[in-house]
């Protein structure tokens, strides 16, 4: 689900940076308030572990394929939402810088799509209410907790992945990158991530159950429940919170089933009456350009911005423009090659003289 820079418009990327930055600021402030410096190495080691753990292939029984573990849920269950969020940021930053997994400009969006939902939504709206909730009262505490961990992990992974995938669709569409209708794009992304979420949830729950069996004190909220510390939240509140989550997720999913997905598109991108392609962000992009470019630059720009309206020009000038563009492109490539050659020439020469 890592997004590349090319999938985002600068304005959308900046907005996501601000949103993720704010969440990071709140997390740092919370952790500073706790004043537990011992947590820092634990966070770093857990982040490194999740990074490595995500590369392990788990065989899915009955199928030939394999799945992976979900980092956000695991980290927030182990470290809490704030520390988990920061650990996820670090993982995403390293993936972006050293593995080219996700872009530098898209980092804000990636943090939001994967870390924010995984840690904050996953913890506050799913993990904590379920673990602390009064479910399975007739069972013994340990067995009930085991069930709750499985349920929380699976629901958590499915919900957070759905939200993440939906955000990817929304961000890409708002950036005006794809011609794919919003509804069709959703229909492409959401079901895939539903399956991934289910498998990731099961794997994550297996890891968490193992930790619970051997060292329950490592898991958030589990310890207090085991020791019989009274719940702050009643079953009723838990159900209300879960219902709210269901409404939010359902709202996202219902866009999928919408018989008229284009309706949203028109609403998002204005009411151009011409071709379909006119609507998907094209107007927005050109709007900014035209308002800022100086007159002379604009005249050059006009020749190069191939709007569909000008798609059937009196061909001579258009062919001229196109050909010159190609010739120019080839020349640029030539210059680049020359630079490469010169650099290589000098570099090779250096050791000889030295």
């Amino acid at each position: 689900m890592h997004m590349a820079d090319a999938l985002l418009a600068p304005a959308v990327a900046a907005t996501m940076y601000v949103a993720s930055g704010t969440a990071a600021g709140v997390s740092i402030a919370k952790l500073r308030k706790d004043d537990n410096p011992q947590k820092l190495p634990t966070m770093a080691v857990a982040a490194a572990l999740v990074f490595a753990g995500q590369m392990i292939n788990y065989t899915i029984p009955g199928t030939g394929s394999s799945g992976h573990m979900c980092g956000g849920m695991l980290l927030s269950a182990l470290l809490g939402p704030y520390a988990g969020f920061l650990s996820m940021i670090v993982i995403l930053a390293i993936q972006c810088l050293f593995f080219a997994d996700g872009g530098l400009m898209a980092l804000g969006a990636n943090i939001w799509n994967m870390a924010f939902y995984g840690c904050f939504v996953g913890y506050f709206l799913i993990w904590r209410p379920i673990i602390r909730g009064g479910w399975f009262r007739n069972m013994e505490t340990k067995a009930a907790l085991r069930l709750k961990i499985i349920i929380a992990s699976v629901i958590g992974c499915i919900v957070t992945l759905q939200l993440g995938a939906f955000s990817v669709v929304l961000e890409t569409s708002l950036s005006g990158i794809t011609e794919l209708p919003f509804g069709a794009f959703c229909a492409l992304m959401q079901p895939i991530h539903l399956a991934i979420g289910l498998v990731e949830g099961l794997i994550t729950s297996a890891v968490l159950i193992f930790v619970f069996e051997s060292r329950p004190e490592l898991l958030q909220d589990v310890d207090s429940v085991e020791k019989g510390i009274p719940n702050k939240r009643s079953l009723k509140t838990t159900v209300i919170i879960l219902a709210a989550v269901a409404v939010v997720v359902g709202g996202g999913l219902s866009l999928l089933a919408s018989s008229n997905p284009d309706g949203l598109e028109w609403a998002l991108f204005g009411n151009a009456e011409e071709g379909y392609s006119e609507n998907m962000g094209l107007d927005e992009e050109n709007f900014g350009k035209e308002s800022t470019v100086a007159d002379k630059a604009a005249s050059v720009q006009e020749k190069t911005s191939f709007l569909p309206d000008y798609a059937f020009p009196e061909s001579e000038s258009a062919v001229g423009t196109t050909v010159s563009g190609i010739v120019g492109g080839i020349m640029v490539a030539g210059v680049a090659l020359l630079i490469c050659f010169l650099c290589g020439f000098f570099r090779k020469k250096k050791p000889k003289t030295a």
């Binding site: 820079d5 410096p37 065989t59 400009m105 992009e285 191939f306 120019g328 490539a333």
Partner: protein, 272 residues
């Protein structure tokens, strides 16, 4: 090779690349960071049909790859992560945007095809720029630079600590995976019976290790944040790099050099 072993190898490779010496490596990390961000912003802001303008932006990575002496091949291999999603998004453009907007002789290319190529090119260029930043800057230097622009110390310290620990963890997981594979030949991944215990055991051990790590860090005088001994000072060339290049990007954004060069050349040949 395994995914995990490949990751370990890639990390080491990036470390080696960053430890090399070249004019690009010796630039101030902050200058490189600013220029990279400016480059990505300008590249992404190109219109979706502005292919010829975008082509000129390829100059920056090409020149930097040459000057830094890093092979472009290493970078292309990394495209495998991000390019699939970019392609998946871009591949639909030709089906929805069919109006021909470019003619090469009598052959017309539709808007969708142009916007697809533009999108993919953007993906490749942005990736090359951030790869160049990571491949020519050592992690310590980058973290010191981030600290300088007031990125919270907690985040930067975590970034550095995690980076150091990733290679340890990746090696450990790699050893475990190999051991598991040897005992379960022909099996594709971890069997369901070991789903929890496989990573769980490592997790428990790591948590204990983190405590020991903290104690040892405290004994060496750690007080919540790393101290950077030799923070590089910005020189004139760093300033020039950080100011002139972003200015050049903006110039290329608003003045289509490929187009102008082409026009000049076509006019020249026309006269002949």
């Amino acid at each position: 090779m395994d995914k995990i072993n490949r990751a370990a190898l890639e990390l080491r490779e990036m470390d080696d690349l960053a430890a090399r010496q070249s004019p690009v490596h010796s630039l101030h990390p902050l200058a490189k960071l600013v220029t990279t961000i400016a480059y990505i912003l300008v590249t992404v802001s190109f219109g979706k049909y502005d292919l010829s303008g975008l082509l000129t932006m390829a100059l920056y990575p090409i020149i930097l790859f040459s000057v830094s002496g890093i092979s472009m091949r290493t970078c292309f291999y990394k495209l495998r992560y991000v390019l699939p999603l970019v392609c998946a998004v871009g591949l639909f453009n030709p089906f929805f945007d069919k109006a021909p907007i470019l003619y090469i002789g009598k052959l017309g290319a539709s808007g969708g095809v142009i916007s697809m190529i533009t999108l993919m090119l953007k993906g490749v260029l942005c990736l090359q720029a951030s790869f160049l930043l990571a491949a020519t800057t050592q992690m310590d230097a980058l973290c010191a630079a981030l600290r300088k622009i007031r990125v919270p110390g907690m985040l930067v310290t975590m970034l550095l600590l995690t980076y150091r620990y990733i290679s340890v963890m990746v090696d450990e997981v790699s050893v475990m995976t190999t051991a598991y594979k040897l005992r379960a030949p022909g099996q594709k991944g971890i069997h369901i019976s070991a789903w929890g215990s496989f990573l769980g055991q490592l997790l428990l051990r790591s948590m204990d290790r983190a405590d020991e790590l903290y104690v040892s860090m405290q004994l060496r005088g750690f007080a919540g944040e790393f101290q950077y001994a030799d923070v590089k000072r910005a020189e004139v060339r760093d300033w020039l790099f950080a100011i002139l290049l972003p200015a050049a990007f903006i110039l290329l954004r608003y003045c289509n050099v490929a187009e102008l060069l082409g026009q000049l050349l076509s006019r020249g040949t026309g006269a002949i």
